[in-house]
């Protein structure tokens, strides 16, 4: 028990919480960006605009079939070479997460709309609604309800996947835990326990949010 008390002394806890803060920061920014971009890409793909939808679909399919780790490496090492810009680990991670998660979300959103669309769009149009009216009043409300659970579980994956950025030395939760147990191996079990608990709290909070939203929408 003494090891645990030592491992959880305030300096270490504070260091872990500093890491957690970076994890949350990266997650929140990436969630916002990727939701917006994912929604636009998902809609573009769904709308079947000649060429544009196909190109978007092609890019989305490539990105979502690659490992996130590869995209992180590529963003941090390769992209600056190609674009001639440089970013620090924080922004490299945010960009990589946004690129990957946007593609994943675009697919969720496209198939979500598609699942509702069948027949309903035509019915709405033949009742005199315009395309956007039908979309806004008939299709999207149903689609959003269907999409919330997969979207939120994608966000949960995003939070978990920020841990991969340890490999480019982003000072997030996982990395800070590694620093602590790297300097004192006795702290390994307490640190992994802390990691499990902290990630669980953040992710479980998100899934509770999903259930809450789900209930809210069912009532409405």
């Amino acid at each position: 028990m003494n090891t645990f008390a030592q491992a959880y002394q305030w300096v270490n806890l504070r260091y872990l919480l500093e890491g957690l803060w970076i994890t949350v920061e990266v997650s929140v920014i990436s969630i916002i960006f990727s939701f917006l971009i994912g929604a636009v890409f998902g809609l573009l793909r769904y709308m079947k605009i000649k060429y544009l939808s196909m190109i978007v679909g092609f890019i989305v399919d490539i990105i979502r079939n690659l490992p996130l780790l590869l995209i992180i490496f590529f963003t941090y090492f390769g992209l600056p070479n190609i674009l001639g810009v440089r970013f620090n680990t924080l922004w490299a991670t945010i960009i990589a997460m946004t690129v990957f998660e946007s593609a994943m979300l675009a697919e969720i959103i496209r198939s979500g709309i598609l699942a509702v669309d069948r027949g309903q769009m035509e019915a709405a149009r033949s009742n005199g609604l315009t395309y956007w009216q039908a979309m806004y009043h008939i299709i999207l409300p149903q689609a959003i309800k269907k999409m919330i659970p997969p979207i939120v579980s994608q966000f949960i994956s995003l939070v978990k996947d920020t841990s991969l950025a340890t490999i480019i030395v982003l000072p997030e939760l996982m990395y800070h835990a590694q620093v602590i147990y790297g300097q004192n191996t006795n702290f390994m079990i307490p640190m992994f326990l802390a990691l499990a608990v902290l990630y669980f709290i953040v992710c479980y909070a998100l899934s509770l949010l999903s259930r809450f939203l789900d209930r809210k929408l069912s009532e409405a």
């Binding site: 399919d61 440089r86 790297g182």
Partner: protein, 274 residues
Amino acid sequence: MRLKKKNWLLIPMLLVLGLTVLAGCGQKSVASEDVLARDKANKTVVWGVKSDTRLFGLMDIKTNQIQGFDIDIAKELSHRIYGKDVKIDLVPVTSNTRLPLLKNGNVDALIATMTITPERQKQVDFSDVYFDAGQAILVKKGSPIKSVKDLKAGTKVIGVQGSNSVDNVKKAAPDTRVLQLADYAQAFTALKSGQGDALTTDNGILYGMSSDDPNYVVVGGTFTNEPYGIAVNKGQKPFLKAINKNLKAMRQDGTYHKIEQKWFGKIQGFHQGR
């Protein structure tokens, strides 16, 4: 689905085409401005350093500051080149990430336990040698492995991705299996977990690990010479000159010796090992 039959063929073709074009673009390097002049104007210098390597660059959890021999040298050089009021930015790198980060311009220079090798000299320029290390192996006390010669078939040796010690040990002990981990903290943890029979890298780093946990000892002396240099991008001659000039001055006025003593003065066996 939008994809008609013939489009199925189009996808792999587009893929190869796109990748080839992008890969071609990847060859051009970031146009490098004069780092010395820019840093002088901005009063900021960015060093790539290790943050997981005891004695050279290790994160202090209490203060959230990186400390070590490399760090002290970097700070002293910064003050001498740019003046006392310069802002010193320390970016943690690993052996695997350091070169791309320098070439991408994320850091101005690397002082990160980096051996000067001919292959690396094709990529970047090195300063004069600022530290003489040599590769050795670290094992658990009482291990049957006494030197690099004992790394026979069936043994596993742990190294770090991007370090030249991995290539060296493959030459010195061709039959051993090399496991490459992301950084030194991970490598040492893996050794303690029994993932390998020995850990190999430069003796200075190994003595740092051994001073951290005396159950692990450096054995067999060094089997290579590893002269450490400070790396800067090609075409940064003024910056490199300033580094070399001040390194020399630091050696002459005793500052270098003081820093060396601070970190390695108390390390048992280190000087015999060299």
